[in-house]
């Protein structure tokens, strides 16, 4: 595994739990790329029910599985979708119908009840629907996956950037990585190498002499120095800028914008994006305007390039697996895209393919397995 974000960590957990010898190399701290800086939303699927019902179905199923597997990294807040103008109200019927079809539990409540539950909500609430959104700690989730993988024999090397992916006679042979902790070069031989480098997947693929169509798309989030809501609050309309406020610990996080960037490195936080988040957020929770900003940050979603249908907020199925056997690098695979909420499912699909390649017959067990607590993770062997 190259990369220890949600994708790499979930796949490593799946493979290790099937008894497959697995090593993970990560260039820095686990979850130091896109995953760590995500919106902390455990999707109910509500955001996808109209435009992408398939993703919505996956979200609600995985949402329920993750609550069971890793309750310690999930805050069961619940979520609300609220309509605050005529346009939102016109979306209400399609939204409720979408929830019904996708199996996303949705209960419409009177606007005054919504305002009793969330006193910070604007007076202009016209309709409100409760859904099982929740809040997740993505860093701790990744550590839980990695800790469980370690307990099942996987080796994890943080602070170990990959330097070369060696391909010989049309097959991937080994990976060379610079282990900065032990100040040594690692040479990891493996019949299967999986590139899960997220927005950096193109760079890793180039090391093996192949191409991956990944288009990093950045998004700004604004964390306020106050928790203004107890539940996730979504605008009842097709996904767009500044339409969701996620409460996490002592903050409320407003998200997000979307624009294309070169890589996941050094993403700027444009001040006008921050202003737009606050303006849009204040339409839902007026106190947003007065609350001081704790931090504004940006991450890059790794989108599959050429997928014109999507700007990343509503990515169909969310991910794609590229088998580079076709490109002359048998055994080398890239996984691009994905969402933290559905990472377990993505990992199951990828691990099934790996098993097929290895001729291993082991069923996926991650639907039932509980994860170890995050603090069982160790940065180095014997640590």
């Amino acid at each position: 595994m190259i990369g220890a974000g949600s994708t790499g960590a979930a796949i490593a957990h799946d493979l290790a739990s099937r008894g497959i010898r697995t090593a993970v190399v990560e260039r820095g701290e686990p979850a130091s790329g896109t995953t760590g800086r995500n919106h902390a939303l455990l999707h109910s699927g509500g955001r996808y029910v109209v435009k992408d019902p398939e993703s919505a179905v996956e979200c609600i199923q995985e949402n329920l599985l993750l609550r069971r597997a890793a309750p310690g990294v999930i805050e069961e807040t619940g979520g609300l979708f609220v309509a605050i103008d005529d346009e939102d109200l016109a979306y209400r019927e399609a939204f409720l119908e979408g929830c019904r079809r996708a199996g996303v539990p949705a209960e419409e409540i009177p606007p005054d009840l919504a305002r009793r539950l969330e006193p910070g909500l604007t007076e202009s609430v016209r309709a409100a629907v409760r859904v099982p959104d929740a809040v997740i700690d993505p860093y701790r989730l990744v550590l839980s996956w990695l800790a469980t993988a370690q307990a099942n024999g996987a080796e994890v090397f943080p602070f170990t950037p990959v330097e070369a992916v060696e391909v010989r006679a049309g097959r991937v042979a080994h990976v060379v990585a610079h282990d900065l902790v032990h100040r040594r070069r690692l040479r990891l031989e493996a019949p299967v190498v999986i590139n899960a480098a997220g927005p950096w997947a193109g760079r890793v693929a180039a090391l093996a002499g192949v191409e991956v169509p990944v288009q990093p798309s950045a998004g700004v989030m604004v964390a306020l120095a106050a928790r203004l809501n107890q539940r996730v609050i979504n605008r009842m309309r097709p996904p767009g800028d500044g339409d969701i406020i996620v409460p996490q610990r002592a903050t409320s996080i407003i998200g997000t914008t979307s624009w294309n960037v070169e890589s996941g490195d050094r993403i700027p936080v444009p001040p006008d994006h921050v202003r737009r988040m606050i303006e849009e957020g204040a339409k839902l929770l007026p106190a947003v305007r007065e609350a001081p900003v704790l931090a504004a940050f940006a991450a890059a979603r790794p989108l599959v390039a050429g997928n014109k249908e999507s700007d990343g907020r509503e990515l169909s199925r969310g991910f794609q697996v590229f088998d580079h056997g076709r490109d002359g690098a048998e055994g080398f695979m890239s996984v691009v895209g994905g969402k933290t909420t559905t990472s377990r499912l993505m990992a199951e699909i990828v691990a099934d393919r790996v098993c097929e390649k290895l001729g291993v017959q082991q069923e996926c067990r991650t639907r039932e397995l509980a994860l170890l607590p995050f603090h069982r993770f160790r940065w180095r062997e014997g640590g």
């Binding site: 130091s32 805050e75 069961e76 860093y139 900065l180 100040r183 120095a225 002592a250 931090a295 603090h375």
Partner: protein, 253 residues
């Protein structure tokens, strides 16, 4: 926002048993006043220090990975901005987006060191393995309560700032320390009754447990999440004393 000519002194060095023994490297760069220290460190990584090791994840004070010693005090790198450093306003919780009205051509200097009392993986990256072992000892895996009432994640982000600031941890590495003991108390208060209270109490009530604290409250001063571990320690002591006296918890007298 204004640009600042920032001189950064970084305590660097390979994996070692404690922060001591590294060497200071000095870098100068032009930094936007709105940058956090994580932006500064990323700029160093992209330029003169490509192998620079530091920990980061959420960039908004929730993951607890980026605590460092900034000019000798524990701070989260994500919440510390260049503007705060240049204006001498370190420690202000809401530096982001604030205009400190810095003069043109402002200059500033800052020294970055890894947390004290932690082994180091390299450069600024503290190894949290032993710290996490202490969290394990008090079963610090609290489960958010279910039901109608919304419940919160722990405010404690296990960033290690209190462990670094505590003079007792510095002199007794086996001392459980402020964050694990504060989480032990949270575990005892947890309405879902997850985990073993007997184990938590046994861990707290031992020579390297709660009695080791000398109440200097450096932990509470250093905490970037407003947890007040010092107060939690005192409450834990009170509970243990009541138990020794055979008083029932919560009983009126």
């Amino acid at each position: 926002m204004a640009e600042v000519e920032l001189t950064v002194r970084v305590l660097r060095g390979p994996a070692r048993a404690s922060a001591a023994g590294g060497r200071y490297e000095t870098y100068t760069l032009r930094a936007d006043a709105g940058w956090s220290l994580l932006d500064v460190l990323e700029a160093l990584q992209a330029g003169p220090a490509p192998d620079l090791m530091y920990r980061h994840s959420c960039h908004h004070a929730s993951c607890g990975t980026c605590a460092l010693r900034v000019d000798g005090r524990e701070r989260l790198a994500c919440l510390t901005t260049v503007g705060q450093i240049a204006a001498g306003r370190l420690g202000e919780r809401t530096g982001h987006g604030k205009d400190y009205r810095l003069p043109r051509g402002a200059r500033a200097a800052v020294t970055l060191e890894p947390l004290r009392s932690f082994p180091v993986l390299g450069d600024l990256a503290a190894d949290f393995a032993e710290f996490f072992g202490k969290l394990d000892a008090v079963e610090a895996d609290l489960v958010a309560a279910r039901g109608e009432e919304a419940t919160h994640f722990e405010h404690c982000i296990t960033c290690g700032a209190c462990m670094s600031a505590c003079p007792i941890v510095a002199s007794d590495l086996e001392y459980l320390g402020p964050a694990p003991l504060a989480l032990a108390l949270r575990g005892l208060q947890d309405p879902t009754k997850t985990g073993s209270d007997a184990r938590r109490l046994a861990a707290a009530d031992q020579p390297h447990g709660v009695w080791r604290c000398h109440h200097v409250f450096e932990c509470t001063a250093a905490c970037p999440a407003g947890v007040d571990p010092g107060q939690a320690l005192m409450e834990l002591r009170a509970r243990l004393v009541r138990r020794r006296l055979g008083w029932r918890e919560g009983a009126r007298r």
